[in-house]
């Protein structure tokens, strides 16, 4: 084990897979010499050449469509979408084409592609460069959706995504690219649909996605100091979702909070909370609390932006209320 950044972990995953399988190529804007604005892909073009690390014009719908066609005909493209906000531009090719082709063809055509993009606010990038749009793609059957919460997950999930025979969307948190964490030297893959219990606990279950796993962990520390034992679960993939691990935990703790950086309304917290309530209803001591980002476009001003996302303190406060049996919402 050595500590590497999330950025390096993604880079290693792609490089390892590209060495293994010549049908893989990567396509996107400024991915070659520039190695992306976040420098995640630096060095790849030097090793694999411009035929496999392909710089495109600024044409997201176009190169997304090209990737779909390439995937249908023996290639395994990795599409680099510079900001998660640009998902809106590729939705038709991703959701009407890539997601449905296998089904519409009765299983005859496959679309093995990875769309890597990012999420996360508080970078002072304003409303069109700060969105966390994973709920949109999670709603579309045919797509798988991975949300790594650290360098370790970023590498293991990326490798699994690349080997998957379906379109996979993988959201990296753009604020975590420089965060370091232990990553094995040797090869490993993280299977889809297996949640990770980041921290064991008995009083309350905190389910977080992406960087919200860290928020949940910090909340758990705050709570531990007060004698409240929180279990922290990272689903790692939201499609497929590992219900079992979540339900097992909630049946034990009887309380849960779901934390996510997408907008709260009609986002993923509602799905996860509903599944818990549907399937562990009688184990619950109170409603599952949802904490998503505020239902506002992301504001530029730091004074405003910082209040739009869940914080460890906020999570801890909700946990305390749940523990106290305060059913603040119930009337």
């Amino acid at each position: 084990m050595r500590d590497i950044t999330l950025s390096k972990a993604v880079n290693e995953a792609i490089a390892e897979e590209m060495r293994r399988d010549p049908t893989i190529f990567l396509i996107g804007e400024d991915v070659a010499e520039a190695g992306t604005p976040f420098k995640v892909l630096s060095g790849l073009v030097e090793e694999f050449g411009p035929e496999r690390i392909i710089d495109t014009p600024i044409a997201e719908p176009g190169f997304m469509g090209i990737a779909v066609g390439a995937a249908m005909t023996g290639s395994r493209p990795i599409v680099d979408l510079m900001f998660g906000d640009f998902l809106f531009l590729v939705m038709d090719q991703l959701c009407n084409q890539a997601a449905k082709t296998h089904y519409m063809s009765g299983g005859k055509l496959n679309v093995p592609l990875v769309l890597r993009t990012n999420l996360g606010a508080t970078r002072r990038s304003a409303a069109q460069h700060s969105q966390s749009l994973h709920a949109l793609v999670a709603h579309i059957p045919g797509l798988k959706v991975a949300m790594p919460s650290s360098a370790y997950e970023a590498k293991g999930l990326m490798k699994t995504a690349i080997r998957d025979n379906n379109p996979v969307v993988i959201f990296e948190d753009k604020l975590m690219y420089n965060d370091k964490s232990p990553v094995p030297e040797g090869e490993y893959l993280i299977p889809f649909g297996q949640a990770n219990i980041k921290r064991e606990g008995t009083d309350i279950t905190l389910i977080g996605t992406s960087s919200m796993v860290q928020v949940a962990e910090r909340a758990a520390e705050l709570l531990a100091a007060e004698g409240i034992s929180a279990e922290v679960i990272d689903p790692r993939t939201i499609v497929p979702l590992d219900e079992e691990t979540i339900l097992r935990s909630v049946r034990k703790t009887s309380r849960a909070i779901v934390i996510d950086e997408g907008h709260q309304s009609y986002g993923i917290t509602g799905e996860i909370a509903s599944r818990i309530m549907e399937k562990a209803f009688y184990h619950l001591d109170g409603p599952v609390i949802r904490m998503g980002a505020m239902d506002v476009p992301v504001p530029f001003s730091p004074a405003l932006e910082d209040v739009t996302v869940p914080t460890p303190e906020g999570v801890a406060e909700n946990a305390r209320r749940l523990m106290r049996g305060e059913m603040f919402h119930a009337a």
Binding site: Q93, Y103, K144
Partner: protein
């Protein structure tokens, strides 16, 4: 009628004739199935445009790819598909090319290189371009033909992918079937300037050809396919053609957007099958009787396939959850 290479290859000519007849016959039956309420949903007839699909696909190998449109039966037949699986698909039966999951608007025949019809106008332009990139990168010399209508030239995706195809010299041919209408609107009302000039502006060589003349289409395509295989692509071809039916089978009263006279004129004077048949007879490649025999044979084939498909079984409801995800490994 283009007389180049006349008589040099009777077999090819007769296959082209037969394929055009097969498309027409397929469509006549599909239309009947709709009219007799035996077919679920709507469908878009290719009748009148047969020379386009056949002229192009006869210049392709099995491993060459095509992408098709909502008006896709013609491309599917021309690229080698069988009547039975096609009718089964149109009727939502298990033996259909897509096990009934796709239907008319998504019919695909991957074994013959047909990557599928598409119900999003212009939606397959990226797919075709990507298939060409794939072939080039994987060292195959396959060519991809992207079929689309005049209406699809309004979609921005086309310009995005033409730009990349031109920059990267991809082996793709953009085949614009200009049948003068997109749904219920004339092309002049929806396309400013010149369609071929749009491709040329990206440095793509562009051609216009009579889409009712199967030999003209085939000759041009053969040349372009050969050049594309050598890395001289991409190319753009505008094929002037006409659809005989309404936009879809339910579009019956259409005089508010096009006249009966116009329709009658195309059918009487520019029918690709009739005219090619006349030429085959004039050139002595086939007698009228021989051509009639082909037509009769195809008709019988089609009728048998329809009967088969009508009797075939629907997929089991358990199939509804299958094929959402491909298996791994």
């Amino acid at each position: 009628m283009n007389t180049a290479k006349a008589r040099t290859n009777s077999e090819d000519y007769l296959r082209m004739y037969r394929q055009m007849v097969r498309i027409r016959s397929f469509e006549d039956n599909a239309n009947q199935l709709y009219l007799s309420a035996k077919m679920p949903g709507l469908t878009h007839m290719y009748s009148g445009e047969e020379a386009v699909a056949v002229g192009i696909c006869e210049a392709l190998r099995v491993t060459d790819k095509i992408t098709s449109t909502h008006r896709g039966h013609g491309h599917c037949v021309a690229k080698g598909a069988e009547f039975r699986q096609m009718f089964c698909e149109l009727l939502g039966k298990e033996e259909g090319y897509c096990r009934g999951k796709g239907g008319s608007m998504h019919i695909a025949d991957q074994a013959n290189g047909n990557l599928g019809a598409n119900a999003i106008v212009g939606g397959s332009m990226g797919i075709a371009t990507g298939a060409a990139l794939s072939a080039k990168r994987l060292g195959r010399d396959d060519v991809t033909v992207c079929f689309f209508g005049d209406g699809a030239t309004a979609q921005g995706l086309m310009y995005e992918v033409m730009n990349m195809a031109a920059l990267w010299k991809l082996p793709v041919i953009y085949a614009c079937e200009n049948n003068l209408y997109g749904e219920y609107t004339k092309v002049e009302e929806t396309a400013a300037g010149s369609i071929t000039a749009r491709a040329e502006a990206f440095g793509i060589e562009a051609f216009t050809v009579d889409g009712q003349d199967v030999l003209a289409v085939n000759d041009l395509t053969q040349k372009l396919v050969a050049r594309a295989r050598k890395g001289e692509g991409p190319f753009f071809v505008e094929l002037m053609t006409y659809r005989y039916h309404g936009h879809h089978v339910g579009d019956i009263n259409r005089e508010y957007y096009r006249s009966k006279e116009e329709e009658a004129d195309w059918k009487a004077n520019r029918d690709p099958i009739t005219n090619f048949g006349k030429w085959l007879a004039t050139e002595g490649i086939a007698t009228d009787a021989e051509l009639e025999a082909i037509r009769a044979e195809v008709k019988a084939d089609a009728a048998a396939a329809v009967d088969y498909a009508l009797a075939a079984k629907y997929p089991d409801t358990s199939e509804v959850g299958m094929h959402v995800y491909a298996a791994n490994g």
